[in-house]
């Protein structure tokens, strides 16, 4: 019997979630399952989350360096951008700047510890270092398997890092970090590489892989019994990974006959696949390009990219500003924002970052899709979990794109400091067609954002 792909997915997914059934995001799922199996989405909706560490420059509104204040002057539709976000001026009608929001749990955590929870809203302390599911993964799991990859997870440092110094933004249904990819070449090969030309041989191996995974799960019970408690935890982590890879094997089987997407010569030429952390500008643009291409070819609809993080001197991105000719390392710039001249120094870096975002939005907004552009059906969330360094409130946030998903853009909205940022996530998911009543500690939607 041919099972609907969605049902398979959901079954295996639930198997993978084990005890964590109580996680709030699952409340989002049943209605989606029903809806999508009956009325498959005609046009895609996408999500992209972009993060940088240590916050931004926020000199006082009456300071000499006020033009380097990240947040605009004024409010509503009449706001005025400062120097910092000026590169985004041309996207003004396609974006909203959000002030005041933060994760209530984050406000109680160490100032450098909140990078992990930007997309989750979880509470981490030294007793409980387990995160919860991230926004992007809810979107990835909740959309039917219409793309070859469920999501694209990237960061400069790659891997998962350590809890509270995470090098990934994404966490699965059990709150386990999903390793981020950081080599452009690897990402390219994975998404656009030729793959095995012999699809019969490939099909054989996919089937065999699926048997392998079953086998591993079958006889792991005996193995588990021989282990002490701590080793059991490690084995469980392994087994959860096995269950997850089962899904991607199933997904690959469905996509076996579909050829890999073709890229144009121009698209290839633009990529610098050997770019690395020694050439930040080239690297960031290539990473943005890869997200763009993944969307353009509909290879995935969900992407996260942690551009910089808060691991300070152990992060490869710590030296990014210096390599691009700014005067100090990332952490020092961030710390120096309230020294004389410091707002300007950090502000210029903030602007540099905004330029790259603007480049990414350019690419999305100049690529037609249906009666609009790629950007019209993509929600791009850009921001940090510090306002100024060490301050876990008033996150600097930009939400761009999604005009055709019902977003009402062109404004600077200031929210009450008590409102959980997860409310934003509820609205984002809902606008993407994933009905969601609650995410983490949300108290409702942010209806101001919607037309």
């Amino acid at each position: 019997m041919a099972r609907k792909s969605w049902h398979v997915n959901r079954r295996t997914f639930l198997r993978g979630t084990g005890v964590s059934l109580g996680l709030p995001w699952l409340e989002c799922m049943p209605s989606v399952a029903k809806e999508t199996s009956e009325t498959p989405a005609v046009t895609p909706s996408r999500l992209c989350a972009l993060y940088f560490g240590f916050g931004v420059s926020l000199p006082k509104e009456d300071s000499e360096e006020k033009q380097w204040r990240w947040f605009p002057n004024g409010e509503g539709r009449e706001y005025e951008l400062t120097e910092t976000l000026m590169p985004l001026q041309r996207h003004r009608q396609q974006m909203t700047i959000l002030g005041g929001l933060s994760h209530p749990n984050g406000r109680k955590m160490g100032a450098h510890d909140t990078g992990d929870t930007f997309l989750t809203g979880a509470f981490l302390n030294n007793k409980m270092l387990r995160n919860t599911v991230s926004l992007d993964q809810v979107a990835a799991y909740s959309s039917p398997a219409q793309t070859r990859f469920s999501s694209l997870v990237m960061s400069t440092d790659g891997g998962v890092g350590e809890p509270t110094r995470s090098s990934t933004l994404s966490y699965d249904g059990q709150g386990r970090p999903i390793p981020a990819l950081n080599q452009p070449k690897q990402i390219f090969d994975r998404f656009f590489g030729g793959g095995d030309s012999d699809s019969i041989a490939q099909g054989r191996r996919l089937k065999s892989a699926s048997s392998m995974l079953d086998q591993v799960l079958e006889d792991s019970r005996d193995l588990r019994r021989q282990l002490g408690v701590q080793d059991q935890e490690k084995l469980d982590e392994y087994l959860a990974s096995v269950r997850q890879i089962e899904q991607s094997v199933e997904r690959s089987q469905r996509w076996l006959e579909v050829p890999r997407p073709e890229l144009t010569d121009e698209e290839r030429d633009l990529l610098d696949l050997d770019a690395d952390d020694e050439a930040p500008l080239m690297y960031m643009r290539t990473m943005y390009d890869l997200i763009y291409l993944a969307y353009r070819t509909d290879s995935t609809r969900v992407a996260t990219y942690q551009i910089t993080n808060m691991a300070d001197c152990s992060s490869l991105a710590a030296k990014f500003p210096q390599l691009e000719g700014f005067k100090d390392s990332l952490h020092s710039l961030a710390h120096g924002w309230n020294k004389p001249g410091g707002s300007e120094s950090l502000g210029k870096w903030d602007r540099f970052m905004a330029e790259q975002l603007s480049y990414f939005l350019d690419r999305l907004s100049t690529t037609p899709e249906g009666d609009g552009t790629l950007l019209d059906r993509t929600l791009v969330l850009y921001g940090s979990s510090n306002s100024v360094t060490h301050n876990n409130t008033n996150y600097p946030l930009v939400l761009a794109g999604g005009s055709k998903l019902g977003l009402d853009h062109g404004r600077f909205l200031k929210f009450d400091a008590k409102i959980p940022m997860a409310n934003l996530f509820v609205t984002m998911l809902s606008q993407m067609g994933i009905p969601c009543d609650q995410f983490a500690d949300s108290t409702g939607p942010l209806s101001e954002l919607v037309v």
Binding site: N125, I245, S315, H335
Partner: protein, 814 residues
């Protein structure tokens, strides 16, 4: 709004946060009740010293009468090991005191002694709570092979040399700096996906189905590539501007092992240095990675000689066939020796480009370049017969043969004898997939791949219940092998384990000697130095090109190699650990020697150099690797260097700075004209900073004579608004208990005289942590002390220390 008002608004906000958290605190408490409670009593100091101060200043608002912001400190436990929920609140309290938010400005303030008592106690308690969280009760956790261990294990197991780690996500570094910590090393779906892809990719190469391929051999005595790579000047005599380029346009192999041989002579004048031979293969014009280079070879003789380079074709960027305009498979030979003198201008004669001769450079003269591939000693290759060996069963009984093959393979892959049942599970899988595959080999590759994604292969498993037990012979073999070689045990260790002899102390020590003498121990020297000394941080510092125009990536690499070579020398020669603190020799190559101002060293090779008197390069503190990693890239960073010494050398890391450290130069005019000492003095004027900095600053300030790249200086150069500002070096400082340090000489003396025991303990802790892949705990303290005492009392050397360590109880206990 006045400053004072603003401060109080801020504090209200932060105290509000506590109230908002009460809900989640209840949750934490429930978990603690259900979970394992840690035993412990409220420390005496807390009751007798801290409580009274809190009662005096805090209980008024946060006590029985009032509980401002719903915070009551009188009921909050001071035993943070017992009551984890209190940790967060105390953290908040510490922050509020540090930031001078509490007590509020209009209330009585703590005096300096009281302040010190409270903050020190709090920090200590918080640190203990933190340590307890990391606790694995002295057990080695089932530990995944990290990228390097996986790479080496796959290569040894399959006999196929390829890049297995390429696609694996970077491994997490534990908070104490190690990349082999079982607790930190995680598993994920994407990781597993690449393990499977790797296994198949490698087995596809190891096991062959086709007949022996045709071997292609080529030989060139001069460049034959005229188009492409257009800018290079072709020549046989190679200085820094010429290249030897040989191409195979159509007829070249695309898979299998290859060998390139380069026959050459060299011209080397006395004191000039040695030519650096670089050979590359590739040319993939549609990607950015055109060629892949072999490691540089230093040519140290002028005699004619032949160098051999081997690799696997699939690991190189091969040209795309059918794109006729491209040059084919290209071998490029260059001389990378460069004395950094200005390059001469390119000249043209008869429309041909050339560079004028540079007699001051050591040069290479290419006689002949040869290529052959695919090369093999036998067919099917050893990688094939090693797995699919000859057996009478092979022809007659496929299933019995498969069982035999899997049994042997699994013994090696699991690094122990496997049971019949274990083999049976894999055979079951083989039976299941066999009908889908046209060949026996095809199905076998799948079964072998299954072995390679199983936890018994991917993890170091030491099954046991909750009781501690001695490790068995096989586990011991793996522990030794991953400790000193970062790979699976070799046949020597396996044999001893089979004979149950390995646990014999005498034999174990013999094995350690054998292993340290094997070149594979270089992995240990590199890994341990990198992780212990945090050499990776060197990569996160960007050196200011204007201030240090001479700095380049090769020098960065040399600095790292110095520290690795130093450790190797210490172990090779069984030298006393004291020499890490101060030695009369250094390990340098030509470039690093001139960076240090040492004369008479040439070439790339690292060598032992006796130091002239008055040189401070002997020992870790004079090494550029650490000095540079702990700089800002423009200037020294006294605090980072100090923290590094306290943490890495003395295993006594200071508490991290409280959030929102007030910035140093606020309202201090001409801050950039102040010396580091003066800047820090301003910082110390604030009582909450003074406590920590008192026993911190001097450790780093003593090294002020070393600039950002570890060069000696008598003047500090700073850039201020693009102007260079010169200041005298100030390296004087004072440690607590009135110890004055004039400069690095005093610092080295102080360490040797007063901190020798602490250093040896610290070294033992780091080594044992690395050897076992887990954090140490109180339970291990006895072993650490015992080893350290041995070393100190008997003046043992580094090799002896390692022997003591592998014989210690923790190393032999699961």
């Amino acid at each position: 709004m006045s400053n004072k008002q603003e401060a109080s608004t801020r504090s209200i906000r932060s105290w509000l946060a506590i109230r908002l958290r009460l809900g989640s605190m209840m949750f934490v408490l429930m978990i603690i009740v259900g979970g394992d409670r840690l035993q412990g009593e409220e420390p005496v100091d807390w009751e007798t010293r801290v409580r009274p101060i809190l009662a005096k200043y805090c209980y008024g608002c946060h006590g029985p009468q009032h509980s401002e912001s719903m915070v009551r400190l009188d009921q909050l436990s001071g035993n943070l090991l017992e009551d984890r929920a209190a940790v967060e609140t105390w953290h908040e309290v510490l922050n509020a005191i540090d930031a001078a938010e509490m007590p509020p400005a209009d209330e009585p303030q703590l005096n300096e002694t009281e302040l010190k008592t409270v903050t020190t106690q709090l920090r200590e308690q918080l640190k203990r709570a933190d340590d307890a969280t990391q606790k694995t009760t002295g057990r080695v956790v089932m530990r995944r092979l990290n990228r390097l261990e996986y790479q080496n294990t796959m290569a040894d197991l399959l006999g196929i040399d390829m890049d297995y780690a390429r696609d694996l996500p970077p491994d997490a570094i534990s908070s104490d700096g190690f990349t082999n910590n079982g607790q930190s090393l995680q598993m994920s779906a994407i990781q597993l996906e690449y393990y499977l892809a790797n296994a198949r990719r490698a087995l596809d190469r190891a096991i062959v189905i086709e007949d022996a391929p045709k071997v292609i051999q080529q030989e060139w005595t001069e460049s034959n590539l005229n188009q492409w790579l257009g800018n290079a000047v072709r020549a046989n005599r190679l200085e820094r501007s010429q290249e030897f380029l040989a191409t195979m346009k159509e007829d070249y192999p695309e898979s299998g092992d290859f060998v390139i041989r380069v026959t050459l002579t060299a011209e080397i004048d006395e004191g000039q240095g040695y030519p650096l031979l670089e050979v590359s293969l590739g040319y993939r014009p549609d990607t950015q990675i055109l060629m892949r280079e072999f490691d540089l070879v230093e040519v140290r003789s002028t005699e004619e000689q032949t160098f051999e380079f081997r690799g696997r074709l699939e690991e190189y960027p091969l040209p795309v066939r059918g794109q006729g305009k491209y040059p084919g498979l290209v071998v490029r030979v260059r001389n990378r020796f460069d004395d950094r003198s200005p390059r001469p201008k390119e000249e043209k004669v008869d429309n041909k480009k050339f560079y004028p001769d540079e007699p001051h450079l050591a040069s290479i003269d290419i006689k002949k370049v040869e290529f052959a591939g695919p090369v093999f000693e036998q067919w099917p290759p050893r990688s094939h017969t090693g797995i699919l060996f000859e057996s009478p069963l092979r022809q007659n009984d496929e299933l019995a043969y498969a069982t035999e093959v899997l049994g042997r393979f699994m013994n090696r892959a699991y690094r122990r004898p496997v049971s019949v049942e274990e083999v049976e599970t894999i055979v079951r899988f083989f039976k299941r997939v066999r009908p889908d595959f046209p060949t026996f080999e095809g199905a076998m590759i799948e079964a072998l791949s299954l072995v390679l994604i199983r936890p018994e292969f991917l993890y170091m498993m030491e099954p046991s219940g909750d009781e501690k037990r001695p490790v068995n012979q096989w586990e011991l073999a793996s522990r030794l092998s991953y400790f000193l070689w970062s790979t699976m045990p070799d046949s020597g260790l396996v044999e001893l384990a089979e004979q149950q002899k390995l646990a014999n102390p005498k034999i174990m020590v013999e094995q350690v000697q054998r292993m340290l003498e094997d070149p594979r121990s270089d992995r240990f020297f590199r890994q341990f130095s990198e992780q212990w000394l945090q050499l990776k941080n060197m990569e996160s510092v960007s050196i200011h090109p204007k201030l240090y125009p001479d700095f380049d990536e090769r020098l960065r690499d040399d600095m790292k190699r110095e520290s690795i070579s130093f450790l190797k020398e210490m172990i090779d020669k069984n030298l006393a650990p004291d020499l890490f603190l101060q030695s009369d020799f250094a390990m340098v190559n030509g470039r690093l020697a001139s960076h240090y101002g040492l004369e008479g060293v040439i070439g790339e090779t690292f060598q032992r150099v006796e130091l002239p008197s008055g040189s401070y390069r002997g020992g870790l503190l004079g090494q550029a690797s650490f000095l540079m990693a702990n700089s800002t890239g423009a200037d020294s960073h006294a605090i980072r260097r100090a923290v590094w010494i306290r943490d890495r050398i003395l295993n006594d890391a200071p508490a991290p700075p409280p959030p929102d450290v007030p910035s140093l130069e606020e309202s201090t005019p001409n801050f950039h004209e102040l010396s580091v000492t003066q800047q820090l003095e301003i910082h110390r004027q604030k009582p909450s900073c003074a406590n920590c900095h008192k026993n911190l600053d001097a450790w780093g300030v003593a090294l002020e004579n070393f600039d950002a790249v570890g060069k000696w200086r008598d003047e500090v150069r700073r850039l201020h608004r693009n102007q260079e500002v010169m200041l005298p070096v100030e390296s004087k400082g004072e440690l607590p208990e009135g110890i004055f340090l004039e400069d690095i000489a005093d610092l080295q003396d102080h360490l040797l005289l007063n901190e020798r025991d602490a250093f040896v303990q610290s070294l033992v802790v780091r080594l044992l942590t690395y050897a076992m892949g887990r954090r140490l705990e109180r339970a291990d303290q006895n072993a650490v002390s015992a080893i350290s005492d041995q070393v100190l009392q008997k003046d043992l050397g580094m090799r002896d220390l390692i022997n003591e360590l592998v014989l210690s109880r923790p190393f032999n206990t699961k």
